[in-house]
């Protein structure tokens, strides 16, 4: 385990690299960072091979799922996306951007690609970065730094990756002691602990407990083909990352009045999850999740209808209230009388609702987004893209560069 002295040295090293990072044109940094991710995306290159070799063990996901997640993530983080992010960060005329002297990023272990957006954004903002990765899985951030070093050693020096077990106060304090901004992915308990340890002048960007939900409006259930398309899309959202992410849907509401009702749609979703179990098999089930799964499925079978297969389950429970799924591809389908009621159903989720997947076209998404109550600010994403945010997607309702710089106004 890393010692406190070494950790402080790594923090200082990252800060020292900040000057050279800030001296580079933002567009140049964007191209280099995108190129580094590109090396990992490419299964023929050494970083790409290493990712596919090592990630199944550290993440517990199957190799096909790893390959899908890498492809789905990096197809949206190419050079064009990075250049667009750089452009959007550029302040208006008369203002200057003042980057954080150091940003600290604390990652969770549930979704291995969660580091991509915050790492890219920090470097684009001109803020050197220290990443505290999960002690069980630091593969992708480590590969990113290695890939960056292959492309531009000076740029790689602005990104340090460390691991140590959570709940180590002296190390957590050392990690955050010099950071102007600390971005944290983790449980609400983790956020609380970090908040208590943060200096009063540092900015906390919290990414706490969260979940996704889905909605199939009757407008997306005009006929069998439309319903099947929605089922296919949502099945991918459920299967992605084995439903371990904070954007993964736990429940999908199906509006009454379409050509296909919720009960039948649940069986269509089950069919699609069965297919995905062959193409993107689920990883091994940990024993503690197995315990939760037995309970969750038992309730579903006892009070509703349960479709289950090898590594997945769909419950249909009428108009019951949402029960949180144990993840690992267990999802609930419920009836919804009117899609305009979805806002009321979501109000209690508050900031915990990270993503709302909506079947159908953009007009349906706009209509649903307009009905959301105050305090609820999910990504409203098309079905099938809940687990595939773009590089520029809002994170918890905030710009992805939140806290990474301040603006100096010239008056």
């Amino acid at each position: 385990m890393i010692g406190e002295a070494e950790l402080r040295d790594r923090v200082e090293a990252a800060i020292s690299a900040g000057a050279q990072l800030r001296a580079r044109p933002r567009e140049e940094v964007a191209s280099l960072v995108a190129a580094a991710w590109g090396l990992i995306a490419d299964p023929e290159r050494a970083p790409g091979r290493a990712a596919r070799e090592r990630l199944p063990e550290t993440t517990g996901l199957s190799l096909p799922m790893i390959a899908w997640a890498l492809r789905a993530t990096f197809e949206q983080t190419d050079e064009a996306a990075h250049l667009e992010a750089a452009r959007r960060m550029t302040p208006a005329e008369g203002a200057a951007l003042s980057p954080a002297r150091l940003s600290a990023l604390i990652l969770a272990g549930n979704v291995f690609t969660a580091c991509v957006q915050p790492c890219s954004m920090a470097l684009l903002a001109g803020s050197p970065l220290i990443v505290k990765a999960s002690s069980k899985d630091d593969v992708l951030p480590q590969l990113f730094v290695a890939a960056l070093a292959e492309i531009d050693l000076e740029l790689a020096e602005a990104c340090e990756v460390v691991t140590f077990p959570g709940g180590t106060p002296s190390l957590e304090s050392a990690l955050m002691s010099r950071a102007d901004v600390v971005s944290v992915y983790g449980s609400d308990a983790t956020l609380t602990a970090v908040r208590q340890r943060l200096s009063p002048t540092a900015t906390l960007v919290p990414h706490g407990h969260g979940l996704g939900v889905g909605l199939v409006p009757r407008g997306a259930l005009g006929d069998e083909a439309e319903a099947a398309a929605a089922a296919t899309a949502f099945a991918l959202d459920v299967a992605a990352y084995d439903q371990r992410g904070c954007m993964s849907p736990h429940v999908i509401w199906v509006e009454r009045g379409g050509a296909i009702d919720a009960r039948r749609w649940a069986s269509m979703l089950a069919t699609q999850l069965g297919r995905l179990a062959e193409d993107l098999p689920r990883g091994a089930l940990p024993a503690d999740v197995g315990a939760a799964q037995i309970q969750w499925r038992g309730v579903a079978a006892a009070r509703g209808e349960l479709h289950e297969g090898d590594g997945w389950a769909v419950s249909y429970e009428g108009r019951a209230a949402l029960r949180i799924s144990p993840g690992w591809r267990n999802v609930m389908v419920l009836d919804l009388e009117d899609a305009r009621q979805v806002g009321a159903a979501l109000g209690s989720l508050g900031v915990h609702l990270k993503t709302l997947g909506v079947a159908g076209d953009a007009a349906l998404r706009r209509s649903v987004a307009a009905s959301l109550p105050p305090g609820v600010a999910p990504r409203v994403a098309p079905a099938g893209r809940m687990q595939r945010p773009s590089l520029l997607s809002l994170a918890d309702g905030r710009p992805p560069w939140e806290g990474l710089f301040r603006l100096t106004a010239l008056e």
Partner: protein, 350 residues
């Protein structure tokens, strides 16, 4: 077959095995018979049975099901007693609906006699609410029955969530062998409140049960046992853990009183079948390998004989001491980790 006839057969088996005798073939046959009887009467059980073939011949009802639907072979108006779990912060509590308490009493008395009170009645001190205060607590009900069966005198020193320290200290000043029985968190309250140690007479014992459920600071089992031993002046071998749950009618006790040299494990009564199962296939794990604990309890005639818990355990077919159970704690994965959540309480779940 009528309930009365089935209950009589179960009662006869409990009586026959009360001294620790084993007849697993008779137990298993009667379990299958009771499960078949329940399947036609307990609606959620019928639904679970139709889900898929169970490796043990009939399904075990996951304990969470008791929070969401009624699991009973009789209508609500025939409930003699409804025991409820301590619940979650959302307020949803599991309910175990009992039509007749004879089997519950018979099983509880038989195993407590063997595990705790083989020397006969003694003074009883309870660190748990009186059954009048907690009529829906199966633990309080059982302790109340203990007064009738095993008590020469009874003191209740825990009420409305508070320990009556003065009453406890007074109850511990005695020359008569005494059994102190209560919940783990109440014993922690006592540890925090009592200012001195006591020396209970030879033959005394302590029975502790349950977890902490956020009601007190958590103390590791070994540490709590050592603290209790020192506090009350009883050997550690006479500090006995009890394992029970609202959804069950039978209890299990550590075997340290009757087998002090054996490893500290829970003895399984002859009318109960414990099986560690694979979390995904529900198939029994090989003897001695850990799995999720399924308990088939013949005394659960009014609800479901098969109960699937979330506890991790190892079951051993131990010839000398009957079947034994080693608990490894509650499986922690009720919700996804990382940035996912545990916010069911915020939602309301009915």
């Amino acid at each position: 077959m009528s309930r009365a006839a089935l209950a009589a057969k179960i009662a006869a088996l409990i009586d026959r095995l009360a001294d620790g005798a084993r007849d697993d073939a008779a137990r298993d046959a009667l379990l299958s018979e009771a499960a078949a009887w329940q399947r036609t009467r307990v609606k959620p059980l019928a639904k679970l049975a139709g889900r898929r073939e169970d490796p043990l011949g009939f399904p075990a009802v996951p304990t969470d099901v008791f929070r969401y639907v009624r699991v009973a072979a009789h209508p609500p108006e025939e409930d003699a007693r409804v025991f409820r779990t301590s619940g979650t912060t959302s307020g949803a509590r599991g309910a175990s609906c009992v039509r007749e308490l004879d089997l519950y009493d018979r099983a509880a008395k038989a195993e407590a006699t063997r595990a705790l009170f083989s020397a006969g009645p003694m003074r009883l001190v309870f660190l748990a609410p009186h059954p009048d205060e907690a009529p829906d607590s199966s633990l309080s009900y059982m302790l109340g029955r203990f007064v009738d069966w095993f008590g020469t005198e009874a003191r209740w020193v825990f009420s409305e969530g508070r320990l009556d320290c003065v009453a406890l200290e007074a109850a511990l000043e005695t020359d008569a062998p005494t059994a102190v029985l209560g919940t783990s968190f109440a014993f922690v309250f006592a540890e925090d409140a009592l200012k001195r140690a006591f020396s209970l007479p030879a033959g005394s014992l302590v029975m502790q049960t349950g977890g902490f459920k956020g009601r007190s600071r958590e103390v590791a089992p070994d540490a709590l046992r050592a603290a209790i031993s020192a506090r009350y002046g009883v050997p550690e071998a006479r500090v006995v853990g009890e394992y029970g749950m609202t959804e069950l009618s039978s209890q299990m006790y550590e075997t340290t009183l009757r087998a002090p040299e054996a490893p500290r494990r829970y003895g399984v009564p002859g009318w109960v079948r414990c099986v560690a199962v694979d979390p995904e296939t529900l198939a029994p794990r090989p003897d001695g390998e850990p799995g999720l604990l399924r308990i088939d309890d013949l005394a659960n005639l009014d609800t479901a004989v098969g109960i699937q818990t979330s506890d991790l355990a190892t079951v051993r077919r131990d010839g000398a001491h009957g079947d034994t159970l080693e608990l490894h704690g509650r499986a922690s994965g009720a919700t996804p980790r990382g940035c996912s959540l545990a916010i069911e309480e915020a939602l309301g779940d009915r």
